[in-house]
């Protein structure tokens, strides 16, 4: 079946929904999502969304936020985009408030703000209260508010449609082909503009805070039609994942005063970040924890650390961190009011993604040549406001804000863009993939391959990396990709066939995992979320550059030609310095 809409948005998380609200007011927009919109993973975000409102830290200014973001990114972030983001942050958040988003409040009734790792006043002098929050379900209320705005504006949702391929010809996006998850069958959507808001790729790792749906589909789709993906090796490991399940314990738990302790019961962060302690940026805390574990100071000699919030008292816990108390009880069987929570680093955020510029237009090469009619925002994009490492609460902001920018940009562009013609072979790639998976009888199981991929990525491409490990992992990924050709699924039906869809997602994971590993291998330095034990220093001469990875003839080709933008739009920019807290 063929559907025609002015604008096709893939993904109904904060990025996709925010764009849809903007566009829905003036043009015919279709939003495709493989889960019901309100179930997108944005809803899992707990801690907050950054904006220098100055409701509590009254001296807060966007320049401080910009500095923190640039420094947090380990100077790999593009400062023009960062400046736009931090400057527009307050109005973006206020706008959500006007749409009814419920935020926790200060006594005077303003939006409450809390501390979050890496956010400071006066360029690092003291911690800033910058994260606007709603108890500990900030992402949830933002997502629902946006979804409800979409309902108000009668946005066309195609829920439970999984996009399989992007139709793209001669630098121009035409549409996408999707699978109707409920009844089966291919549906083609085409329009003047196509936007990706498909979220992150944490599911490449075994221990992850990400949803099952976060399989980085957008990245695979884009790379399959010959476009590059950027900075894939930068994966943020969050220090506080629940032991074994990886489910996130919000950084708010540390923001509210939680302590990290090793097997000796000591707050070991004083050895790593004496001023900020537990509130140091995530990558540092995660590495500190991993090091404690590697050196045998994990709890019970296992790979876990204790997060202690019991001293905060029941009332504060119930008031500020109700969800955490529930999570710890449900998933770790501990009562955080009286005992410490066992945690371990968990793959949390994907800095890499589809390269796009500050107007969210997707770019196709190191010179930032724009594709026509193709946009990306949110976690799937790499506009590079996070560079090598994202600060907590900056990604909800990114998704909202660049979703908004995408919406405005598309509204501006859409009337200059003609409806494209569907090429005759528009469905072939998707149909081929479906048929291959359905008809193949090689005996390899999705669960097995995916398990092996996630295990090995965690061990050999995780918090710490070395050349040997990465080399090994490169071969592992190749081996798994090879075995994927013998994939066999059990379910051959049309109706709600998640077996088929999981196989397709596995194909995506295998695809871009290659780019992660290869980027990590070639980037012989340590920066932000990427840490090479054999190259523990940052190397600005060689690597103050974005990684671009192209999939060509089944292999990944990487370059480090894309320059980092070191100047803001109006701000002179911050010179790279050593990142210390």
């Amino acid at each position: 079946m063929i559907h025609r809409h002015d604008v096709i948005i893939i993904g109904a998380g904060l990025a996709g929904s925010r764009a849809a609200v903007e566009i829905g007011k003036v043009a015919d927009v279709a939003v495709l999502s493989k889960v019901y919109p309100s179930r997108s993973h944005s809803g899992a975000a707990q801690g907050g969304v950054a904006a220098s409102l100055g409701n509590i830290s009254v001296t807060d200014r966007w320049e401080f936020h910009m500095f923190d973001t640039v420094k947090g990114s380990d100077y790999l972030g593009d400062q023009d985009a960062i400046e736009l983001m931090v400057r527009e942050a307050p109005e973006t958040v206020i706008e959500m408030e006007h749409w009814g988003c419920p935020f926790s409040r200060t006594e005077e009734g303003k939006i409450a703000q809390r501390k979050f790792g890496g956010h400071t006043l006066e360029f690092g002098r003291e911690a800033a209260l910058r994260a606007c929050y709603s108890a500990d379900f900030t992402g949830h209320v933002l997502l629902h508010t946006l979804h409800e705005q979409c309902l108000k504006h009668n946005v066309n949702f195609y829920s439970e449609f999984q996009v399989l391929s992007l139709i793209f010809r001669d630098g121009r996006a035409i549409g996408v082909v999707a699978w109707d998850m409920v009844h089966g069958g291919l549906h083609t959507f085409y329009g003047r503009a196509v936007m990706f808001g498909t979220g992150g790729y944490g599911r490449a790792f075994k221990i992850t805070s990400n949803a099952h749906a976060n399989t980085g589909d957008g990245l695979a789709l884009v790379s399959r039609i010959g476009l590059p993906i950027q900075d894939m090796e930068f994966v943020q490991f969050h220090p506080t994942g629940l032991y074994k399940s990886g489910i996130l314990v919000t950084e708010g738990a540390r923001g509210e005063g939680g302590h990290l302790k090793n097997s000796e019961g000591r707050r070991f962060m004083e050895d790593y970040a004496p001023t900020l302690m537990e509130l140091a940026p995530r990558d540092m805390v995660a590495r500190a924890m991993q090091q404690e574990i590697d050196e045998g100071r994990g709890i019970d000699g296992e790979d876990k650390i204790h997060l202690d919030v019991s001293h905060l008292g029941e009332q504060r816990l119930m008031e500020r961190l109700p969800q955490i108390t529930e999570l710890a009880m449900n998933f770790a069987g501990v009562d955080p009011r009286v005992e410490p929570i066992p945690i371990q680093p968990t793959a949390h955020y994907s800095m890499g993604g589809i390269p796009a510029n500050e107007n969210t237009r997707v770019t196709m090469d190191a010179n930032r040549t724009e594709a026509v009619g193709l946009y990306a925002a949110g976690e799937c994009s790499c506009i590079s406001v996070h560079g090598a490492n994202r600060l907590g609460t900056n990604s909800l902001l990114e998704a909202l804000l660049f979703g908004r920018r995408a919406g405005k940009q598309i509204v501006e562009d859409v009337h200059d863009l003609e409806f494209p013609n569907l090429p005759p072979d528009y469905e072939d790639a998707a149909r081929g993939e479906i048929e291959f998976i359905r008809n193949n009888r090689g005996g390899e199981k999705v669960g097995t391959l995916r398990g092996e991929l996630q295990d090995s990525m965690m061990i050999d491409c995780g918090v710490f990396r070395t050349k040997e490990q990465l080399q090994k992992q490169k071969e592992k990924v190749a081996e798994l990709a090879d075995r994927f050709r013998h994939i066999q699924i059990d379910d051959n039906g049309d109706q709600f066939n998640t077996d088929l869809l999981e196989a397709i997602e596995l194909g995506h994971l295998l695809d871009f995992s290659g780019a992660i590993v290869e980027g990590a291998l070639l980037r012989e330095e340590s920066r932000g979320g990427h840490y090479r034990k054999d190259f523990p220093k940052r190397d600005d001469d060689k690597f103050l550059r974005h990684t671009l990875a192209w999939k060509r003839n089944g292999d990944w080709e990487l370059t480090f030609e894309k320059e980092v933008v070191l100047k803001g739009v109006s701000h002179p920019g911050f010179e790279p310095k050593e990142r210390k807290y």
Binding site: H98, G100, H140, L151, I489, T498
Partner: protein
């Protein structure tokens, strides 16, 4: 430290493409001590029988995908610790009251349509101030249950009134109506009243409280409905 045990799962199966009638299929698997029901379903799907269909995404109780009936009561599979369930086998059914797509996946469209009927968005025709609208912490807490709802449908699907009247808005949509109508920034009760004060609206609630017990987020839709009922009565007199 593989702390495992053997459990059976008796799972409702139905594929409208091929089956005339639904049936139960029992799977025996090893479960680890920290697993939830969703982990067990995943184990079955990934390593035993790929044809089993169900919904899941976040796997930590926030997206609302995995609501289903576990031993006769609606719950979130991803939040239900297996070791806390004494019955064996553990019986799993789809959410009652909805049409079945396949196995444990049901058609949620009616649920979302009901939601839309209560106009779930802030209605306020005054021009917004340049900064945020002021709202006190108490006013924020008043709508706390409403904003915490994850739209999992466990409540609506457990409600006998919904079983007898598919067009009944149901507790989830009513909780949403409460969340907006009791928001200090909202002026929209008048716009919602037609949907609420209706044969399929507020008055179909007989305070059966299945919804209250089913809600995996420990929310209280019953109380929200009561408050809305009172508010609508006030509005009408």
């Amino acid at each position: 430290m593989a702390d495992t045990s053997q459990r059976s799962f008796r799972i409702f199966r139905f594929n409208p493409e091929t089956d005339d009638k639904p049936y139960y299929q029992t799977y025996e698997i090893e479960v680890e001590s920290w697993w939830t029901v969703l982990d067990a379903l995943n184990e079955i799907k990934w390593f035993v029988d790929g044809t089993l269909s169900y919904r899941r995404s976040c796997r930590h109780g926030i997206c609302g995908s995995c609501a289903m009936m576990i031993n006769g009561l609606n719950d979130l599979a991803c939040e239900k610790q297996i070791k806390l369930i004494r019955r064996n086998p553990i019986t799993i059914d789809p959410l009652p009251g909805f049409e079945i797509h396949k196995d444990l996946a049901v058609d949620m469209d009616p649920f979302y349509k009901a939601l839309k009927r209560v106009k779930p968005w802030l209605i306020n025709n005054d021009p917004p101030p340049s900064r945020e609208r002021i709202q006190s912490p108490e006013q924020f807490h008043l709508i706390g249950d409403g904003i915490a709802c994850i739209l999992c449908a466990a409540c609506t699907s457990s409600c006998p009134s919904y079983w007898s009247d598919e067009e009944y808005l149901g507790p989830a949509a009513l909780l949403k109506a409460y969340r907006y109508s009791f928001d200090s920034r909202d002026q929209g009760l008048g716009d919602r009243i037609d949907a609420l004060d209706n044969r399929h609206g507020l008055w179909r609630c007989h305070k059966i409280t299945n919804c209250f017990h089913a809600c995996p987020k420990n929310l209280n839709p019953t109380e929200a409905i009561s408050r809305l009922q009172r508010r609508v009565i006030e509005e009408k007199t």
